[in-house]
Amino acid sequence: MNEVSMVIVMVGALSGVLVWLLVPGNKSSASPDAGSFGDGDHSLPRARHYQYFPQIRQALSAADARYLNEHASPDAARKALRERRKVAQRFLQGLHEDFSSLARLGRVIAALSPEISRKQETERLILTLKFQVLYSLVQLRLYTGSVPLDQIAGLTGLVGRLAIRMDEAMAQVSALSMGPLGQNSRA
């Protein structure tokens, strides 16, 4: 590739990134500070999927699968398995949202802190990138049917504990700052 083509490709890539970041309607650029840290209660990171976890755990449990195999017709069992996979996929999406909320909580705290650690920020960035890769791989394997559903069910415990911790963390942040998040959200 000669110099001209290389420069054109680099400029094209940079322009693409800039257009994506600058075009209004993009989540970050559409709503300045209010969007950054919140639009009222909706913005505060919280694990919204937690309330459904007991049902999901039940739906994905091995006992449930055994019961279906023993008592339902083969057609009904197959249909139920398909539905269970759909539930597992939706659950994974919920997991992704909860991860994003937690990562966002980390970024909000960093943005509102007078000092931040480069090590912590780099670590969070790497964890986020790693999660994206792993999430895509798990989704792919779930799609191809090579992930046992009871393993997915095992994740519900993690997310449940996380939801409680996140609510506690948000309460702590709000109490400590006497509402800077709220003030930002009203801005």
């Binding site: 110099e3 001209v4 420069v7 054109i8 400029v11 940079l14 322009s15 800039l18 970041l21 600058l22 209004p24 970050s28 650029s29 559409a30 709503s31 300045p32 500070d33 969007g35 950054s36 840290f37 997991l95 991860f99 937690l102 990562a103 909580l105 980390g106 970024r107 909000v108 705290i109 960093a110 943005a111 509102l112 802190s113 007078p114 000092e115 931040i116 650690s117 480069r118 912590q120 969070r124 964890l127 986020t128 790693k130 999660f131 792993l134 798990v138 394997r141 997915i152 095992g154 994740l155 993690l158 996380l162 911790r165 702590q172 942040v173 400590l176 700052s177 800077p180 003030q183 801005a187």
Partner: protein, 279 residues
């Protein structure tokens, strides 16, 4: 100058005057003083170069040097405006600003060093030297703005609409400049450089129209893109600039120290579970 270039030059001058009018009527000099200086520099350098063209002639050596010096002055003014855009609104977020400053300063030093080395190795002619520096500075500007916006996007600290439009204009003109300067530079420094040697002096008169044509194309592209950019800026400044958002109320320093490691630990637990699923 051909007719199209004369028309574009007059149009550029008109749009520059309109832009300066918008900048000062809207009071942008109070919010972004370096951007106001940049627009004034553009207008002043256009007028100065025109006066020199009128006095010494378009094809004189003085005009040639005046043009390239004005290009470099404009590039420096643009760089200062970019520095100002980088810190606008981000400075209030002290922690993020400290981090962004380190990243952007490191990147700027690297890119400026590359620009200097690249220009140093060029044939000893102000045109090629200036073009190389201008191109590398434009590329650096784009890279710095891209990193700045990635940081802002990541932390959810958005730029206000007017500042966003100003940044978009700078990015556009820089992108066009980088591509046009690279093509033109490639033609001059690679394909035609052997013809500039004294041994080839006999061919110079025959080469002159070809060079003139390349120069005309380059000037036309540059002026068109520049007018388009100024159009973006004028459009952004057509309405009064809204008041800036209040500075954020920061959290006590110990909150970050306590919560950030906890958040990272939880994120790490998510990843560990996903890894287990994949085994």
């Amino acid at each position: 100058m051909n007719q199209l270039e004369t028309f574009l030059s007059w149009s550029t001058l008109t749009v520059e005057i309109v832009l300066c009018g918008f900048v000062f009527v809207r009071g942008l000099q109070k919010i972004l003083p370096f951007f106001a200086i940049y627009t004034s520099t553009l207008l002043m350098s256009t007028i100065s170069v025109w006066l020199i063209y009128a006095h010494y002639g378009f094809n004189s050596d003085v005009s040639y040097y005046a043009y390239w010096i004005s290009v470099l002055i404009n590039a420096v003014a643009r760089s200062l405006a970019i520095v100002e855009l980088c810190q606008y609104g981000l400075r209030a977020y002290q922690g993020i600003w400290g981090l962004a400053l380190r990243v952007l300063a490191g990147l700027s030093l690297l890119l400026l060093a590359h620009a200097a080395i690249d220009a140093w190795g060029q044939p000893n002619a102000l045109g090629i030297y200036g073009m190389t520096l201008d191109r590398d500075l434009a590329f650096s500007s784009m890279a710095i703005l891209a990193i700045l916006f990635v940081i802002r996007h990541y932390y959810g600290i958005a730029l206000e609409p007017v500042q966003r439009a100003l940044a978009a204009g700078i990015c556009f003109v820089c992108a066009v400049d980088v591509i046009a300067n690279t093509i033109f530079h490639n033609i001059l420094a690679n394909y035609l450089i052997s013809f500039f040697q004294m041994s080839q002096k006999a061919f110079w008169p025959a080469l002159q129209p070809q060079l003139q044509r390349v120069d005309d194309v380059w000037s036309t592209i540059h002026l068109f893109s520049f007018m388009f950019t100024m159009g973006i800026w004028c459009y952004a400044l057509r309405k009064p600039i809204p008041a800036s958002a209040d500075a954020p109320v920061l959290l006590p320093a110990e909150v970050y120290g306590r919560m950030s490691p906890a958040v990272n630990l939880r994120l790490s637990a998510f990843n560990d579970r996903l890894v287990e699923l994949l085994k």
